[in-house]
């Protein structure tokens, strides 16, 4: 054995310090103090299988539709845990639940207002829509009756949590409540279902709010699932009139009455194309708690703008109103503008951007937290507070800003 020199002893002590550091601080040096606790991934579902059986029963007493489109089956508490993580609600009886696989989601008609989010929906208890009944038809395979037919008695196990995210600004989310439990306040009785179905018949098509779920009209059509980062809430955009007005005001103010206005850009509100999944579901939960509905599409649209303004908060709104060009350019430079938009305020309604948080595929559910743009960063407290901005307040703020910019423009012009 080689003789240990005093010099070696010093290096031994240096290595000892490093080893003690590793023992006392197992985390890497760069990661100290930056440990972030995010919603954990939902636990893996045991025994994820293919299409469900054609019979109406499943292990654990569940009920399966006869369509054979249901995929992953969960009959344990993992689903409940996952739903709680993701902000959704699960019926007390829903331990025997059926989870749609991503590529096997049913296609039920809709205008494309939906966006991803995990919700456990009893469609028949929705806002009383025909399409909702279709959903129920599809899900359960039991309600084959017409719109006015009374809903059949559902066994306990027919509560089917559907892993589908709904766009936040969908007017539907304000037009009714989503039942979340049989015994809870949000859960409607069967007679209530029938009554709502009857109310639906009396509504004109124009007064019908868009369906709750974002599906295409064709029940058999396949869905193209968009990744979470590309999904955008549709009503988060300004209307064309508002955008044009804001831009004109800002343009006039910036140019000081120049004869050549800047080309009107395609406004890209920084509202998140990568909406945090649990944030969406938290909104969903808020909706499920019984938010007053919006009667007309116009009201729903205003409500959508209100949500947009609230989500942006006043500072973002002022920033957009002041210089939409710079904001749009900046967003483009930051790579946050990830969707294609041909015209101002228009989106692609033909492709409902379903951003699903499938419980069977939890990957990517937490990835959006870091990339969420400003204004929609996952900040639970701030978000809830921002959404409290009412429509009147937002409108008042917008008018005040417009007035300010007009005054500035006039002063420059003088």
């Amino acid at each position: 054995m080689a003789e240990v020199t005093p010099r070696d002893d010093v290096y031994t002590v240096a290595s000892l310090l490093a080893e003690l550091d590793r023992v006392l601080h197992p985390l890497q040096r760069g990661s100290r103090g930056q440990v972030r606790i995010a919603p954990s991934f939902p636990p893996a579902l045991p025994g994820a299988g293919g299409p469900g059986p054609n019979s109406g029963s499943m292990s654990g007493g569940g009920f399966l539709p006869s369509h054979g489109k249901l995929g992953g089956v969960s009959s344990n508490s993992a689903t409940r845990e996952a739903a709680r993580h993701l902000g959704g609600r699960l019926a007390p009886e829903a331990s025997d639940s059926v989870i749609f696989k991503r590529d096997e989601r049913p296609s039920v008609g809709g205008a494309g207002y939906g966006q991803a989010g995990v919700n456990h929906v009893r469609p028949a208890h929705g806002p009383g829509l025909r399409t909702a009944q279709k959903v129920n038809n599809w899900n359960t395979g039991r309600i084959q009756a017409s719109k006015s037919a009374p809903a059949p008695k559902e066994p306990t196990s027919t509560r089917i949590p559907v892993s589908i995210r709904v766009k936040r600004e969908s007017p539907v989310r304000d037009s009714g409540r989503v039942p979340t439990g049989r015994n809870g306040g949000a859960a409607a009785s069967k007679t209530d279902v029938g009554r709502r179905a009857d109310e639906l018949d009396s509504l004109a098509p124009t007064r019908l709010a868009p369906p709750l779920l974002s599906h295409s009209q064709s029940p058999g059509a396949s869905h193209r699932v968009q990744p979470p980062t590309t999904a955008r809430p549709e009503l988060s955009r300004w209307s064309e009139r508002e955008a044009a007005l804001a831009f004109d005001v800002a343009n006039h103010a910036s140019l000081g009455g120049s004869s050549e206005p800047l080309p009107r850009p395609a406004l890209e509100p920084p509202l998140a194309q990568s909406t945090p999944s649990n944030a969406v579901t938290s909104e969903r939960g808020r909706h499920a708690e019984g938010e007053p509905g919006l009667g007309t599409p116009r009201r729903a649209f205003e409500r959508g703008n209100e949500l947009f303004l609230g989500a942006m908060d006043a500072a973002d709104f002022a920033r957009h109103t002041a210089d939409p060009v710079a904001v749009s350019r900046r967003d483009s430079e930051q790579g946050q503008t990830q969707h294609s938009e041909t015209e101002l305020g228009e989106t692609e309604p033909s492709e409902p951007e379903l951003d699903e948080l499938s419980l069977t595929e939890p990957s990517g559910a937490n990835n959006v937290f870091h990339d969420a743009p400003r204004g929609l960063r996952y900040e639970p407290g701030r978000r809830g507070k921002a959404l409290q901005l009412s429509h009147r307040e937002a409108e008042r703020l917008r008018r005040r800003l417009q007035t300010t910019f007009l005054e500035q423009a006039l002063m420059r012009h003088r």
């Binding site: 010099r7 240096a14 310090l17």
Partner: protein, 253 residues
């Protein structure tokens, strides 16, 4: 700015570590996996062992290692350096004929004001009392070369309300320069009368200054000018043989 040299800083850190670490992390160090390290710490708690380790390194290495130790120590606890005293003196004294002065200084850190300093050593028959600097005189005569110089300093002071007595000692090598030049006058070797190489010493050839390598050798791109004066650490070591000075190659004293 630390008043100590790099080696003294390293010794201070090592001694403080050897004292503090078993107190702060004694239970952890008691694990079997740290047996070798614990023994190393025990050995380094002895100042002579720590000084031996420091003197086996270059100044740059000692400085780097002391910084590494402090950084790693800071990662696992608070760095607490004990009061320290060190004698600042040259490692080697190159003697020339006549009277040579050797300067000794004491550097103190961590003590309150008002400490007392007592010097003892081979240059002072009865000891010297000087607060910081003491000058030793060494006479080189034709009778022979004096031996190495021994100096010891004792500082009596107070730190944190407690009396502290700190001691340090040094041994300064006394060398008479010896210059060896090869035939083409491109390689010069600097050593002393005991053939100890002058490692990393400042030398001057003519009007140009150089620094010897780790073998005490100086390699020139062009041959040294004959007759040029060669000195080491300010002490004349000889001259380059050849015209215009007297011819002759080899060792010059």
């Amino acid at each position: 700015m630390s008043p100590f040299t790099s080696r003294a800083q390293l010794v201070r850190v090592v001694l403080s570590l050897a004292k503090r670490l078993p107190i702060d992390l004694g239970s952890l160090l008691g694990a079997g996996r740290f047996d070798a390290e614990r023994l190393a710490l025990t050995r380094l708690a002895e100042p002579s062992h720590a000084w031996a380790a420091a003197r086996s390194m270059s100044e740059a290495e000692a400085q780097w290692l002391s910084e590494v130790l402090r950084e790693r120590w800071a990662e696992i606890g608070s760095v607490e350096l004990d009061p320290f005293v060190a004698v600042v003196a040259p490692e080697r004294v190159w003697l020339s004929r006549g009277v040579n002065s050797v300067r000794f200084e004491v550097a103190v850190d961590g003590l309150d004001e008002g400490q007392q300093v007592q010097w003892t050593g081979s240059l002072w028959k009865w000891g010297a009392v000087a607060q910081s600097v003491v000058i030793g005189e060494l006479l080189l005569t034709g009778d022979g070369v004096p031996g190495d110089i021994y100096a010891r300093v004792a500082v009596d002071g107070r730190a944190a309300g407690k009396r502290v007595l700190l001691v340090d000692e040094v041994v300064v090598r006394v060398s008479v320069p010896v210059l060896i030049i090869n035939d083409d006058r491109t390689q010069l070797i600097f050593a002393d009368h005991l053939e100890r190489r002058a490692v990393e010493a400042n030398v001057r050839v003519g009007q140009t200054e150089y620094r010897t390598d780790r073998h005490g050798m100086l390699r020139l791109d062009t041959p040294a000018e004959p007759g040029a004066t060669v000195s080491i650490e300010g002490v004349r070591a000889g001259s380059v043989p050849g015209a215009p000075s007297s011819a002759g190659h080899g060792t010059q004293r």
